[in-house]
Each structure stands twice: as structure tokens, then as C-alpha cells.
């Protein structure tokens, strides 16, 4: 809660700065000629407000980063010498205990006296630090205000300064997109590298056995765990393949119908309705796959003498296919509509029927765009999580039989990371290696798809 008070204080300081600067500008303008003023009073106000807020925000950010380190070393220095000599990992545990006592997670009465004393020191130090910060914020903010206040003069170019600052804020905002990509890549890569230090990348990429549960005791059977991800890759491909088998014909034919046959009225209703399928949360599809489609397929299989697992690849794939229909149809619809009418007219002029025109002229012309749409849909299918988590199961079978249960990359990422985690065991880290594979594969698919789509667009423009 203290941090929100601080934020409010900074905001109040900035608003105060704005009004003070603006009034000062008006007062100066009344004293001299208004026309001599370069900037409007509001810009002078804004300039003062920026000088109040920006240095203070920087200070707070610095404080937030530095404070924990300083607190830690100060508290640990205060511990009795025999505790200070503990190895760093145990020292970390002790420090966690201290913090837990402070946060009230452990009742202070249960902790031993050394920890309790350290906890007291910790909270005392933290209070001092917070008070210091509040004082520093106030001093720095008022200094900034005073400094900017005395720069309010007719010839001062406040507007240019304010606009420059805003532009830098815009540039900063656009960096976030880059930072996110870099952040995803580095964080996943970093943990994946830790995994590959324990398990060879070759075993991971080409191993045929997947059983990541490592035993608790070293002498248990299978204590090492096996991290061959091939069953996951084949499982993912199988389910995505089934999904595309559903989505591509249905999506493409719907797009053709909507673009070439349907009248405007049907189109205006059917297109948004079909796109509702893309707006339904994936967890809803998962629910259907697990509770409706799975049991139905099993019952149907039994009635015709097939054994279908209740968590079969078929069920998950079918439902995923339905989810992907609108991705294929709406992109294909766009590219089909973008094919110039002259091509169709030429074909009709030669006596071709509509379907002949579509098959022999429109589709070949739209093919690159359709391929792009399909690639985007494939990357969507590979990265889809909830449907397979709920309907595909955990059994890492290396099989191409759609009636059996298979597992996928995303399912295993979720399974390894939900619940208690230990961040030094390959069991947890493997999720990041899988994530890296997923990220790279979808990225490559997207780059190719966007490239194909873009090249196609240029053709007719």
C-alpha cells in the first residue's frame, strides 16, 4: 500500500507543478507583452510538471532495484558470526525465513530468537528506507519544481522541450515490443540452456522415450528420467494434422462459397457468425472435446468395433479443427476477393462455368495467399494449449493411430510447470526447452506465411 501512496504523491506533485508553472507563465505574460511569449502557459506548466515527475520516477525505480540488495546485506551482516559462515544457499534459506516472519507468513512466536531479532532489524531498516525514500522524493520533486519554475521566461521554448520529451516517451513505448521479444527469447533460452547442460540436445530432439518424472531417490528405477521429445513432436503433428484435415476443406470451401456464390445478405450474416468460432475461448473448446466429443467418439468406436481411447488424438484434433476453420476461411476469403475481377471475366468469356473459373483461375491466382493462411493456421494449431490439455491426455505414445491417446508439446509444458516446481531439476527446465522449440517453430512458420502473403499482395497492386 505504501507504494500506491508514493504514486499518488508523485502525481500530486506533478499536478502542483503544472498549475504553479502555468500561473507563473500567465503572471509573467501579464507583466510583459503577451506576444513576446514563445510558448502557451500550458506548456510552461507541462515543463514544470515534467521536471517534478521524471527525476522522481527515475529515483523510485532505482530505489526499488537497489533496496532489496542493500537490505539483505545489512540484515545478514547483523546475524551472529556462526550463521554468517553458512554456505550461501543455507544463508538464502535463513534470509527467506526472516522475510517470512516479517510478512507474517510464519508467526513470530514460532521463530527462534535470532531470526526474530533479524526480522525486527529487517522491518526497522525497511521502515527507515521507506521514510528516506519519501523524503528524497519530496526534496527532489520540489527541487525540480523550483528549478523549472525559474526558467519560465517569455523567450523560453517550453513547448519544444515538452514535445521532445513526449516524443521520447513514444519511442520508449515502442521499445516495449522489442523488449518483449527479446525477453521471451532470452528467458526461454536461458532456462533451456540450463536444461541442455544436464541433458544433451541430441537426446532431447531425437530421443524416442519421454518419461520426465525423475525419481525422488537416486536408486529408484528410471531415476534419471528420459527426455526424448520425439513422441511429443509426433503427437503435436498428429493432432495438428487432424485439425488441418478438418479446417482446410471446410474453411476453404466456406470461403469460396462466401466470396463467389453467396449474395451480400447471406455474406453479411454468415461471415461474422463464422468468425464467432474464432472468438470462443479455447477452454470452451477443450470442455467440448473432453466432455462431449471424446465420449461420443468412444461410444461410436465401440458400436463399430473400434477401440478409441477416451482421450484420443481424433477428438482433440477434430475440435481444434473446428476452432481453426475461421482462421482459414477469413484469410482465404480476403485473398479470393482480392483476385481481380478481370481474371474471372476472361474465364467466363471463354465459356467456363463458375466452378471451373474458381478451380482453374481464381484458386491458382489466390494460391500463395491461401498457403499463407494455412501456414498461419498450422502455427495456431501447434501452439494451441487448452484443447489438448483437456482432451489429449498425458500418455507419450509414439504412434500415428488417431484413435490412441497422444500428448503434445504444449500439454507437457503445462504439466511440468503446474504445481510445485524446483528450478534446478531437468523435470521443470524441460518445459523451457519445449517452449523454445515451440517459439522457434511458430516464428519460422509465421515469417514464411507473412512473406508469402506479402509477396502475393504486391502482384496485383
Amino acid at each position: 500500500m505504501a507504494s500506491s501512496t508514493l504514486l499518488i504523491a508523485i502525481a500530486a506533485l506533478a499536478i502542483l507543478g503544472y498549475y504553479v508553472g502555468r500561473r507563473r507563465a500567465i503572471a509573467v505574460a501579464v507583466g510583459t507583452s503577451v506576444r513576446a511569449f514563445h510558448s502557451l502557459p500550458g506548456y510552461h506548466g507541462g515543463y514544470v510538471a515534467l521536471w517534478c515527475a521524471l527525476p522522481v520516477v527515475a529515483l523510485v525505480a532505482l530505489w526499488v532495484v537497489v533496496e532489496p540488495t542493500l537490505l539483505r546485506s545489512a540484515v545478514l551482516d547483523g546475524l551472529p558470526p556462526e550463521m554468517q559462515e553458512l554456505p550461501s544457499q543455507q544463508l538464502g534459506l535463513v534470509y527467506n525465513d526472516i522475510r517470512n516472519v516479517v510478512e507474517g507468513n510464519i508467526a513470530a512466536t514460532n521463530a527462534d530468537s535470532v531470526i526474530a531479532a533479524a526480522a525486527e532489524r529487517y522491518s526497522a531498516l525497511r521502515t527507515t528506507s521507506r521514510n528516506l525514500l519519501a523524503a528524497a522524493v519530496l526534496v527532489l520533486g520540489l527541487t525540480g519544481l523550483g528549478w523549472a519554475f525559474y526558467r519560465v521566461r517569455p523567450d523560453f521554448r517550453a513547448r519544444n522541450r515538452v514535445e521532445r520529451t513526449i516524443e521520447f516517451l513514444f519511442i520508449g513505448a515502442s521499445m516495449v515490443a522489442i523488449l518483449t521479444t527479446v525477453g521471451i527469447f532470452l528467458s526461454v533460452l536461458f532456462e533451456a540452456v540450463r536444461f541442455f547442460q544436464q541433458v544433451s540436445p541430441l537426446d532431447f530432439l531425437f530421443g524416442l522415450t519421454w518419461s520426465p518424472q525423475t525419481a525422488i531417490r537416486a536408486d529408484q528405477v528410471g531415476s534419471s528420467g528420459a527426455f526424448g521429445a520425439v513422441p511429443l513432436f509426433t503427437g503435436t503433428l498428429l493432432i495438428s494434422g487432424i485439425a488441418m484435415f478438418v479446417a482446410v476443406p471446410v474453411g476453404l470451401m466456406s470461403a469460396i462459397y462466401l466470396a463467389e456464390y453467396a449474395n451480400a445478405r447471406v455474406r453479411s450474416y454468415a461471415k461474422p457468425l463464422l468468425e464467432v468460432l474464432a472468438g470462443i475461448p479455447t477452454v470452451v473448446y477443450g470442455y467440448f472435446a473432453a466432455l462431449t466429443v471424446g465420449p461420443f467418439l468412444r461410444g461410436f468406436g465401440e458400436s463399430i468395433g473400434l477401440t478409441v481411447a477416451s482421450e484420443s488424438a481424433l477428438g482433440a484434433g477434430l475440435v481444434m479443427g473446428i476452432m481453426i476453420i475461421p482462421f482459414v476461411s477469413s484469410l482465404s476469403d480476403d485473398v479470393i476477393t482480392a483476385v481481380p475481377q478481370a481474371l474471372r471475366d476472361g474465364s467466363y468469356g471463354l465459356g467456363a462455368t463458375r466452378s471451373e473459373t474458381i478451380r482453374n483461375v481464381v484458386l491458382p491466382a489466390a494460391l500463395p495467399g491461401i498457403v499463407g493462411a494455412v501456414l498461419l493456421a498450422v502455427s495456431r494449431a501447434i501452439g494451441e494449449t487448452m484443447i489438448v490439455v483437456m482432451a489429449a491426455g498425458l500418455a507419450a505414445n509414439l504412434t500415428a493411430n488417431p484413435f490412441e491417446a497422444v500428448t503434445t508439446v504444449t500439454v507437457q509444458i503445462v504439466t511440468q510447470l503446474v504445481g510445485d516446481q524446483e528450478f534446478d531439476s531437468p523435470r521443470t527446465l524441460v518445459a523451457f526447452a519445449l517452449g523454445l522449440v515451440l517459439f522457434v517453430v511458430t516464428l519460422v512458420l509465421n515469417v514464411i506465411a507473412l512473406h508469402v502473403v506479402r509477396r502475393y499482395r504486391e502482384q496485383y497492386e
Binding site: 515490443a177 526461454v188 466456406s254 510447470l417 509465421n446
Partner: protein, 430 residues
């Protein structure tokens, strides 16, 4: 002789024409069929959801004559709120059942009898006494919450004719239930727990409110972060940046981020926000951070489209009367582009609301009974609640899952409808 080939071509075309028209009709029918398959699934989804879900609005209650006996609730008569809160209210329920079925005495049978009323009945009695302590010592006829096993029988989800080993209620319980029904003591009333409670292992006490509040906090964080950042990025890229390698890189990045699987964002959240920054697990704050990174590309792309739609004449006019570039953008272009930006933002937020995969990674699959009060409290989200309930074995959770999905879909529908209205209302043709 010269007419002969012409005629034969004509004849050949005429011969083939019926087959070609047949193919044409077939192709057209295939297209229509594909469209109908897609729409049929949509209809099937909603039909199943509404059919399964609407019964969750009701909850079976049993009318019992409860004696709010003073010696059970407050033997010392001090009306101390702590003693009132700690009393054994379930015992009052048990005694009321005993009075209705005096011939049930065997211990095992009694346990079965008592299990017909939910443990929540005692909580309801406690609330009643806390609100008005003067009811102590009086007898009331109260509609008390039935157990979920009774509930599914009364609603007809589980057939009474099934053999005993295929349902969770015994023949004995069915007999008692029939006796209660004969006395008009069983009724389906509005299920208020569904809208006001958090998670519970008893389906009759489980609700979506804590998940809804968690989702709300998450969207709040997402909106406050992603909207300003997205709009600022779009303005920079569209209005200020010169086209060079650097801006190309940013553009490619944004397009790719829009297609990165959501689960990868979950990995990022886990590795960066939780492990590196030490933010609490299961907190809507972290969920909101992850979702805002996910929504950012959507908002940026929509905002850029909105900015390009503003005609250059507006910019030129502003510059022509002496506005600076920043004034031109902030005073003239931005207000005109704002509806489009808001539309994109709402659509992005709707997607964020339905997202659940990254939330699994950052520990939002918790069992949350309490209603979260700030973005730092442990909480869960609506779609995650659906996921958790879909996994629960009790039959009574099926209707609750469907109902929770319907609530989620209503939220999404409202958001998307707002976006469409906004677009229709403010759409300009220049």
C-alpha cells in the same frame, strides 16, 4: 465441310454441358455444406451450453422445521458473537431431520440421511442468527440447501431408475427424498451461491464470483498498461518514425508477437515476472502483466490502422495553420483515430479475458475460496475456473461449468458488441 468441325465442337460442348452443370451444382453444394458445417457447430455449441447450463441457475432446497435451540447455539445466553459464530449449526439441521424421520436410528442410516443436506445449510443458519440474534430459541420453517447428489436427482440429471451402484445416492435416500417431495418439502430455488461464492469442493456452494473479480483485476492491469503503451507505439511508428531498419525491425517484431502462442507468454511471465522480479504467484497483477504483453500487438496493429485511416488533408490543414507536429497529432489526428483505437483495444481485451493457457503457468490455477481484494491477492480467472470445474468429477459441476462458460461468453459478447457499436457510431467516411 467447312461447317462440320464447328458443328462437332458445338455438339461436343452440348454433350458435356449437362455434366458440367452437374459439377457446378455439386461444387456449389459443397461450398454451402462447408459453411453450414461451420455454422452448425456454432449452433450445436450454444445449444449444448444453454441446455446444460441453465439448470445451474436453480438449486434444490429442502424445507425443514429448524428449532434454533438456545442450548445448542448459545448455552450461556451471553450472545457473544464469537460463541454464536462457533456454534454447531449443522446439529440443528440434523435434529430437524431426526424429527422428520423419527424411525431412522441406525448410525449408518443416520449418516446417509444427514448427507442429504449440504454442509452449507449450517452456514446459512449461522448467517441468519448473526443478522438477528433474537431468532434464537424459536422454531422456523426454512428452505435449506440440499446436497449436490440430491440436487442432480431432483433436476433429473441422474435417472432415479438407474441401479443403485451407478449413482451416488442410495435407494434409501431416494425413498426419503420421495417422502419429502410428497410433503412438498423439496423445491428448486434461485442458486445465489453461483454468483456470489468462490471455489468450493461442494458444488452447491461453488460460485464464479471470486474468479470474476480476479478476471476483472487482471483486465484492469492489462488495460492500464497495454492501452497507453499500444497507442504511444502506434503514434510513434505511424506519425514520427522515419522508415529505416530500426522501425522495420519493430514492425516485424510486432507482427510476429501477434502470432506467438499464448503459452510462450506464460513461460515469459514465469521466468521473468515471478522468478526474476519475485512477484507473487497466482496474483492478478502478474496475470495482467502477461496478458498486456499478449494484447499489446493487437492494440498496436488496430491503432495503426486507425491512424492510417485519418486522411492526410487533416494533417496538412493543422500544419498549415501553424500547429507543431505534436499539436497536429495530439489535437487533430488522435481524436479522430480514437474510436478505432478503442475498438481494437476492446477486442484485444476480450481475447485477454478468454485466455487461460498462460495463466496456468503463473499459478492462477489455485483453489480460491476468498474473494480477492486487490491485484496482489491470490486469485483465479473465469476461463481457468471453467478449466478447473471441467476437471471435477461431480455431476453437479457439469451444469456449473456450462453456466460459467455462458457467463464468460456473455461478457465477451457485451465487449464485442460495444466494439461494433463504437465502430458503427463513430465510423467516418472521408
Amino acid at each position: 465441310m467447312s461447317e462440320q468441325p464447328g458443328r462437332s465442337v458445338k455438339e461436343a460442348v452440348a454433350r458435356g454441358i449437362a455434366a458440367r452443370y452437374r459439377k457446378e451444382r455439386l461444387f456449389r453444394a459443397l461450398g454451402l455444406g462447408a459453411l453450414l458445417i461451420g455454422l452448425g457447430f456454432l449452433a450445436f455449441f450454444f445449444y449444448t451450453l444453454i441446455g446444460n447450463g441453465y439448470t445451474a441457475l436453480g438449486q434444490t432446497r429442502i424445507l425443514l422445521d429448524v428449532d434454533l435451540a438456545e442450548e445448542v447455539i448459545d448455552p450461556e445466553g451471553a450472545r457473544d458473537p464469537e460463541i454464536l459464530a462457533a456454534a454447531d449449526y449443522q446439529r440443528l439441521v440434523r435434529e430437524a431431520l431426526n424429527r422428520l424421520f423419527p424411525d431412522v436410528t441406525a448410525r449408518a442410516q443416520l449418516r446417509e440421511l444427514y448427507s442429504m443436506v449440504s454442509p452449507g445449510a449450517g452456514f446459512e443458519l449461522r448467517e441468519r442468527v448473526r443478522d438477528d440474534p433474537s431468532v434464537i430459541g424459536t422454531t422456523h420453517s426454512l428452505w435449506l440447501l440440499a446436497d449436490d447428489d440430491v440436487d442432480v436427482i431432483v433436476k433429473g440429471h441422474v435417472d432415479r431408475a438407474l441401479p443403485q451402484d451407478q449413482r451416488r445416492t442410495s435407494d434409501q435416500e431416494l425413498e426419503w427424498l420421495a417422502a419429502l417431495e410428497a410433503q412438498d418439502r423439496v423445491d428448486i430455488q434461485l442458486n445465489r451461491y453461483f454468483f456470489t461464492a468462490g471455489a468450493s469442493t461442494d458444488p452447491e456452494l461453488a460460485g464464479i464470483w471470486s474468479a470474476t473479480v480476479g478476471s476483472f483485476f487482471m483486465l484492469l492491469v492489462t488495460l492500464t498498461l497495454a492501452f497507453p503503451l499500444g497507442v504511444a507505439t502506434a503514434i510513434y511508428l505511424e506519425e514520427f518514425a522515419s522508415r529505416n531498419r530500426w522501425t522495420d525491425l519493430i514492425e516485424v517484431n510486432i507482427n510476429n508477437l501477434a502470432a506467438v502462442p499464448s503459452i510462450v507468454y506464460g513461460l515469459l511471465g514465469l521466468a521473468v515476472f515471478i522468478n526474476a522480479f519475485g512477484l507473487p504467484r497466482s496474483a492478478p497483477l502478474v496475470g495482467g502483466l502477461v496478458l498486456s504483453l499478449m494484447t499489446l500487438p493487437v492494440i498496436i496493429i488496430a491503432s495503426r490502422a486507425a491512424l492510417t485511416a485519418v486522411p492526410p488533408s487533416i494533417r496538412e490543414a493543422a500544419l498549415g495553420v501553424g500547429a507543431s507536429k505534436m499539436q497536429m497529432v495530439l489535437h487533430h489526428v488522435l481524436p479522430l483515430a480514437m474510436p478505432g483505437m478503442l475498438t481494437g483495444t476492446i477486442i484485444g481485451m476480450a481475447r485477454a479475458l478468454g485466455e487461460s493457457a498462460p495463466l496456468l503457468m503463473i499459478g492462477m490455477v489455485a483453489f480460491i475460496v476468498d474473494i480477492p481484494e486487490s491485484p496482489l491477492d491470490p486469485s483465479t480467472a473465469l476461463p481457468v475456473q471453467v478449466y478447473l470445474w471441467a476437471d471435477s468429477p461431480e455431476r453437479a459441476f457439469v451444469e456449473r461449468t456450462s453456466a460459467a462458460i455462458l457467463v464468460l461468453l456473455v461478457f465477451l459478447l457485451v465487449m464485442n458488441a460495444t466494439a461494433i457499436l463504437l465502430r458503427k457510431r463513430f465510423e467516418r467516411r472521408y
